[in-house]
């Protein structure tokens, strides 16, 4: 019925969700639901976020002051809490991205040494 059952789903590595949230917010402030949707959509729905786990992650990022929350109204005039990247978060995103690149590259080299 839902996509979960139809496709093969990839669980997120620990800590990766934080990176994805930061990357998503680089495009502009968004509310929680939109962030979850964006991650699913941008990964061709390969990455399945258990939507609830988004919230501890968001709070963790707020506590570290990498993102900030503010009240706003969404497109259809409903109350929504928007999350936005802070300056520190932007810096952190760069650090995390390069770390991820190194990790992914290293794993790829191990898995496909021939190529």
């Amino acid at each position: 019925m839902s996509t979960k059952e139809e496709r093969e789903r990839i669980e997120l590595l620990q800590g990766t969700l934080d990176l994805l949230i930061l990357r998503t917010l680089l495009l502009g402030p968004a509310h929680g639901h939109a962030i979850a949707k964006a991650i699913e959509f941008n990964s061709d729905e390969v990455l399945q976020v258990e939507q609830g786990s988004l919230y501890p992650a968001l709070h963790r990022l707020i506590k570290r002051r990498w993102i900030a929350a503010e009240e706003g109204t969404s497109e259809n005039n409903r109350r929504a809490k928007f999350y936005r990247l802070t300056r520190a978060g932007r810096k952190q995103l760069k650090v995390e991205t390069s770390k991820w690149d190194k990790l992914a590259g290293a794993i790829a080299r191990i898995l496909r040494p021939a190529e």
Partner: protein, 1014 residues
Amino acid sequence: MGRSKRMLDELDADIREHIERETQDNIERGMTPEEAHYAAVRKFGNVTRVKEETRDVWRVVWLDELWQDIRYGLRMLRKSSAFAAVAVLTLALGIGANTAIFSLIDAVMLRSLPVEKPSELVVLRWSARKAPRINGYMSSGDCPSNLRYGAANPSGCSFSEPIFREVRNTNQFSGVAAFANAGPLALTGNGPASMISGQLVSGDFFHTLGLKAAAGRVLEMSDDSPTATPVAVLNYGYWQSSFGGAQNAVGRTIELNGAAFTIVGVVEQRFTGITPGSDYDVWLPLAAGSRISNPRMWDNREEKVTYWWLTILGRLKAEAPMLQAQAAISGMFRNEVLHGSISLFEAGAGMPGPPEPRGGGVPASRQVVMGGPPPAGARAVPPPPGGPQGSTVVQGAAPPAARGQGAARIQAPFPPVAQGQAPLDAAPDAPNEPRTLSKPDDEPTVTLVNAQTGLTGARGRFANPLYVLMFAVGIILLTACSNVAGLMLARAAARQKEMALRLALGAGRMRIVRQLLTESLLLAASGGILGILFALWGSHAIISFVANNQPRPLTFATGLDLRVLGFTVAISLFTGILFGLAPAFRSVRVDVTPRLKEGFSASTKISRGVGGRFSIGNALVVTQMALAIVVLVGAGLLVRTLQNLRSIDVGFDSHNLVIFGINPSLAGYQDAQIDSFYRDLQGRLTETPGVKSASYSMVPLLSGALMATMFNWPGTPQDRELESDVLEVGSNFFSTMQIPFVAGRGFTASDYEIAASAASRSAPPAVPTPVIVDQAFVAKFLGKENPLGKRFGQSAASQDGPASPGYEIIGVVRDTKYSDLRRETSPMMYVPQTMQGASFEVRTASDPQALVPAIRRTVAQINPNLPLRDVTTESQQIDRLLFQERLVARLSGLFGLLALALACIGLYGLLAYDVTRRTREIGIRSALGAQRGDVLRLVVKQGLWLALVGAAAGIGAALGVTRYLKAMLYDVSAYDPFTIVVVSALLVLVALVACLIPARRATNVDPMVALRYE
């Protein structure tokens, strides 16, 4: 943490929002609303878990762990309640003693002045190379002054009233005020006559200090004028106690020394006096000073530049820097005293080296002119009034009894200082400006001192003893800490298995250290709370001891303020960490595996490291012993000082002697009436049943008051003056005081007539004033010469006054102590009393205190409006004189014993633990044939060795420290071997007792039980 609270509060709404959006999306994808909601919730996951995880993000982990540690710590302490009780009590004693002494230091030294913005307030202080040539100098003991005849580099805080007006005119301050002690005030018109204390203040005093009235109004500028109605402002406490706080007290009229004053208000409660420790019942305008004072003492001082009697306060302007104001005031002052109507300082006086080049190479010629004609340009100083020689220096508590003002010091009239006059016309090349002869630093200057530090008042007297006591209690605290550290170590050893188990189960070492530190902080906190209770009780006891030994109640506000509480919290934390840290780190340094393998009996193994010679436990006990010795030696020296002072031969019989002050001139008696009043009272007192004899003197002996006089000795140059103590006495003084005559006779009625005519300036005296001198006088001035009939102190007529025939010695008496016990007996002359204030001495047959009511009745028979002041006995007075020594000796002795007790408890604890630990060893030794005596010796030897090492270290430390006590000691060396030996013997003896208890237990070890124990 507001951020987390807000975020979590909104979490529910956020989640609901999220699910609604997902539901909406699902509906748009074609699901039924029910299906859509179900799918959304499923996709979201477990809402409760999400919330919990989110909450966890914000949770402060260490706070939870701290709470956990505290609960665990409390449980552990409850489990070993004996240990906890000993530790908490030890710490409470240490912390309590520190808090008590600190609360005193806080009250006496640290509290800020009870005025608005005290930091802006400055007190003016003058200094110069030489004493100014003035007639009167009066200081109420508010700030230290070292003006003594002939003293170099004098300084002080008293100024003349013209200078005060000039200070106001410089406009350097946003407010200026001046004040002076009003002297003794006899109050009538509010119940029975009483003596109260008052302060003369300028009209802007209260406004400058920023004080408001609690009732009525404070003084205004308009009150401070000779033509204004005399008004008074009351102290709040005095208003409460003597007027019952009645609103209608304002507007009432009271009589002070016979002059009427209208009460216009009560000053706000917090203000009891500007100087810490001395407060006043009433404040009167400066202009009213002449109304309440004896004209002879008052001496028209308002207009005189030669009478310095006012302490001046200024409030700094916010925008003007202090140094700028200081430069302006100092310049004005220098100009006034050097070039004013009367030049009070010598330009160039005291100049040691060659003059400045600008002086034109003039040699520093100094011509001494004493009694000669004044040189050109210098004006004569008016002859000082009073006294046969006109040069009586009164020190300490003074004539009309500023006694009770503590450090009150009146030096009046001041001898004219005429030596060092540099005649200007002797320097032909000198420019007209006299100041060019002097270097700038020779000249009188004024510095502005922050009032908080400048107005020391009674603080000065308490500073030294308080610091000594603070040092002692600091050591007590260290002893307590090391004591508890020893207990903790023993406990840590017993808990090694627990620690090993926890480490093995994966507990972090830091986590365990934190746990153990929490336990020690818990102990320290409990000790701190209990300590505050001890401190409240202790400081109260000390303050009431101090207060009972003051002629006037001391009003240091004590009690807990934030500073004291902060101090206690700080030392509790400090001690907690200090005694907790070492054992804690030791505990986690265990090697896990062997400890677990050994089982509970691990510690019974023979001679494992813990009991080694230089273990921490031993070191702690040695430290405690050493610290105890330091406190005990200090205490011993102070106790010996007190004993020495107590056993001094004062030279007269101080038992069964009532003394009281009385001043009939305050009730309007005039010259001759006063004399006859004294004779009358003396006669009636002598006839009172129970009284053996009665006499009077200007001040009582051993009251802290001291008078001295200068005179010329025949055959020496006229400019050389000698100094002797002097006391005016009534008839029968020597027989009443039981001061034996060595030669000659006592005063007769005709002697009093001669003295009276010498004192009155109307008729120049023809015959020398008869005097009685003491043995020290004879020894110093006469040697082997026969003193009887010797004349001295003659002077020719001069600007100082008419010719004087001087004195003639008619008798010699034994030496006595005069002002206080510590002062060496000095040359002393007794002259027949002609002055107005007097203290009566009444020799009683039995308990002097019982006779006080009868004495009061006798005085009231003559005049019920005459208040007595300072009614006391000579022994009480000596106690008062020694109160500081008694206080310090008592407290330091107490602290010394406390340190000793703590050290011995520490020793006992260590040995007791050791014996338990070595039960098996002792059992084996017994089984192998060791006798009870051997076992006893084994334990006692260890204990005694520790005590001896500690004592040796302590003596070394004490020798380094006791020299700081030197100023407080009397007739005992700071390195007094007797004290050191006695104290060390005491320590070793007590240590021996502490050893014996565990040693006896060791002898009772049954070898069979001990060996099976494993």
